[in-house]
């Protein structure tokens, strides 16, 4: 029987790996991949809590499904923005997007 | 020896499963959990082997059928009636040189055909072969089928990208665009049998069809739509722009030779048979037939008959229809199939609800008639809309030669294949 905190620690580890990806990568698409890892960690958390605390009520899974939809919407808009930026500036390196820097 | 009389007649897979379990537990004295794991592994290997042996037969069948459609004989040299032709082809492919193009991504290049084959073989895990024989009776079988199709798209993109060849990359892009686009009406059309059966599990859908009528009578539009979009999903004619040799130089598998190319071909032919099996399961009643619940072996026979019928229609449509142009392909999907799928789903849901509200004691025949007439209404509505738009396009084009060409183009683009016959007598009556 797997204790609940194992799942939560796994989700925390995945979240922190995604966080490292967001903070340390140069390519904007790679940053988006890190964000995807973080969203997946969140959904693992939700489903684990559903299973361990309230498995007879489906509310936990409803929450997770809505988060799925939001993640899909966010990644599609993010990639559209990246492609649009690539068309203008011919680069997707995040450090070079510095038009608004002081 | 295990007691075989409590399973139905001809329940061969369960016989062997139980025999193996008895052998492992009593003769070799293994603990029950380990014996269960070994039993499951043997069952998986058996089902996978059965799925992989199917293309040997269906490749021969398809070549013979396509040849007869083209008024020639097909392979008849290797073995009686050319039955050993597939073996000859495999031996030839094994003997070919295994080239990896320079600059290709070795791991991804070698992994792509494998992922392609895996994505098709794992579909056989959820297809119910008889009333008691299904690989994994999960309650999200339909969603599993959709997911595995997505995995096939990934395999094609891996293959196209790693070949270090611009034509392969373009072919992979086009293929991925087509596959992702045609998934949308396929998923919506798949929701119709789920709606009618009340469950996403494949065995539940077949049981529901066994209790009422086959869903091809209750939802013919959805059945046709699922069939057509599945044919587009496997990249078959008339949607085979992506890999036809006269087009984009054979598309994403241009750099593959030898057995890796053989694996792409294997996955394509197996996928064709698999979607025939899925159409048979979801719309033609699967293993259901007379006496199929008492004797599961008859269930397998009925299932194979229906699958081969659907596969014959796949080969028939491949030999009959011309290839669709790539811009027609996508506009056909987004402007015709997706609204039609949504319309079919809404019509089925509304008709089902109306039957439940106003005819509460309705039997299966009544419900089938109501749903069928709702579908006929939808088809008539669609034809009216197409006819009206074609009439407008033709009226706007009277008197201009190049505009007339454009109206014909628009007619061909909007019509889709099943209305092509409607249009040819219509111009005569309009003029």
């Amino acid at each position: 029987m797997v204790p609940l905190n194992w799942y939560l620690i796994l989700a925390a580890a995945l979240f922190c790996i995604g966080l490292f990806g967001v903070l340390a990568r140069r390519n904007a698409v790679a940053i988006l991949m890190g964000i995807e890892l973080m969203m997946n960690a969140v959904i693992i958390n939700l489903v684990a809590f559903w299973r361990y605390l309230q498995p007879t009520q489906i509310t936990g899974q409803v929450f997770a499904v809505i988060v799925f939809a939001v993640a899909a919407a966010e990644v599609s808009v993010g990639l559209a923005l990246i492609i649009s930026i690539y068309r203008r500036r011919n680069s997707v390196v995040a450090e070079e997007m510095n038009l608004m820097k002081w | 020896m295990p007691d075989f009389s409590k399973y139905g007649i001809g329940n061969i897979f369960i016989y062997f499963y139980e025999l193996l379990g008895w052998f492992l537990k009593s003769q070799l004295n293994l603990p029950a959990e380990l014996a269960g794991v070994i039993q499951t592994l043997v069952a998986i290997v058996t089902l996978g082997t059965f799925a992989l042996l199917i293309p040997i037969f269906t490749i021969w069948l398809e070549r013979k059928l396509a040849a007869r459609f083209q008024d020639r004989l097909g392979p008849n040299r290797a073995g009686p009636y050319g039955l050993l032709q597939s073996f000859a082809d495999v031996i030839k492919l094994l003997g070919k040189e295994d080239i990896t193009p320079t600059g290709a991504d070795k791991w991804v290049y070698n992994l792509a055909p494998l992922v392609g084959v895996v994505s098709v073989v794992t579909l056989w895990a959820v297809i119910p072969l008889a009333s008691t024989m299904v690989g994994a009776n999960i309650n999200v079988g339909v969603l599993y089928v959709v997911g595995i199709s997505g995995l096939g798209t990934i395999a094609i993109m891996m293959g196209g990208w790693s070949s270090n060849n611009k034509f392969a990359l373009l072919g992979a892009f086009r293929t991925a665009a087509q596959l992702v686009a045609y998934e949308v009406p396929m998923i919506i059309a798949l929701m119709v049998p789920v709606l009618l059966a009340g469950s996403m599990g494949m065995q539940d859908i077949v049981n529901a069809q066994a209790n009422s009528t086959w869903y091809i009578l209750m939802a013919p539009v959805a059945a046709l739509l699922f069939f057509i979009t599945s044919v587009a999903e496997i990249g078959r004619a008339p949607f085979d722009l992506l890999e036809a040799e006269s087009e984009i130089v054979a598309g994403f598998h241009i750099e593959y030779t030898g057995m890796k190319f053989g694996m792409w071909m294997l996955s394509e032919f197996l996928h064709a048979f698999t979607i025939a099996a899925l159409t048979a399961t979801l719309f033609l009643g699967g293993w259901h037939g007379p006496l199929s619940s008492e004797a599961p072996i008859l269930g397998i026979v009925y299932f194979l008959v229906k699958t081969f019928l659907a596969y014959f229609v796949v080969v028939w449509s491949r030999s009959t229809f011309p290839r669709i142009r790539v811009d027609h392909l996508l506009s056909l999907n987004w402007k015709f199939f997706t609204p039609l799928a949504l319309g079919a789903l809404v019509v089925t849901a509304v008709a089902q609800k109306l039957v439940d509200t106003y005819l509460p004691g309705a039997g299966d025949a009544m419900r089938t008639v109501a749903l069928f007439s709702a579908n006929v209404l939808l088809v008539w509505l669609v034809f009216e809309l197409i006819r009206r738009s074609a009439r407008q396009a033709r009226a706007g084009a009277e008197g201009g030669y190049e505009e007339q060409g454009e109206a014909h183009h628009e007619e061909a683009g909007h019509g889709g294949h099943e209305t092509q016959a409607e249009h040819s007598p219509a111009p005569a009556s309009a003029h």
């Binding site: 390519n27 995807e36 809505i66 799925f68 | 969603l143 997911g147 990934i154 998934e183």
Partner: protein
């Protein structure tokens, strides 16, 4: 160590290794393929958690749509075919420190509290979970409003993505 614990540890280990490869590989296409592997192992984890619909939805949505979208975007935004430039920026050590600190803090907090064990749930609940999910998502005293707002959000995102990324003719 029960079988389920061993299974969980194996899946968790492979998933974390794939995730580390996603964020450290120099070849971005390989990183995207390892992302697909990570998402697949997350789906396996959902199966271990008796959430079959979530597992299937994960494969359909994340692997079948989002991962393909990411691979497409990656292929469309490359300047050369073989891109081997450095993919870690100059402050990676700070990012690593922050991530490690966050993990240690959260894991310490999690281990300090007592968590309930796994409640037994009968098969009927598991098989009926999809029906319950569908009923809850569409019933007025369930979650139909968040569901509809999520679908409006998706439509807005769809229109917005096409408007932003479409070619200006």
């Amino acid at each position: 160590m029960t079988v389920s614990q061993i299974l969980f540890l194996v899946v968790a280990a492979v998933m974390l290794i794939s995730a580390v490869l996603v964020v450290t590989l120099r070849n971005l296409i390989h990183a995207a393929l390892w992302l697909i592997a990570t998402l697949f192992f997350v789906a396996v984890l959902y199966v271990l958690l008796d959430a079959g619909f979530m597992a299937a939805a994960q494969v359909v949505l994340y692997i079948g749509a989002i991962a393909i979208l990411i691979i497409f975007a990656m292929m469309l935004t490359r300047r050369v075919m073989a891109d081997e430039t450095v993919q870690i920026n100059s402050q990676w050590w700070l990012g690593g420190l922050v991530a490690a600190a966050a993990f240690v803090a959260v894991a310490g907090l999690l281990n300090a509290s007592a968590w309930p064990g796994l409640p037994a749930v009968d098969d009927a609940t598991i098989t009926n979970s999809i029906k319950m999910l569908g009923t809850q998502l569409t019933s007025p005293d369930g979650f139909v409003i968040p569901f509809q707002i999520a679908s409006i959000l998706l439509t807005v995102a769809l229109v917005g993505a096409i408007a932003v990324a479409g070619e200006k003719k």
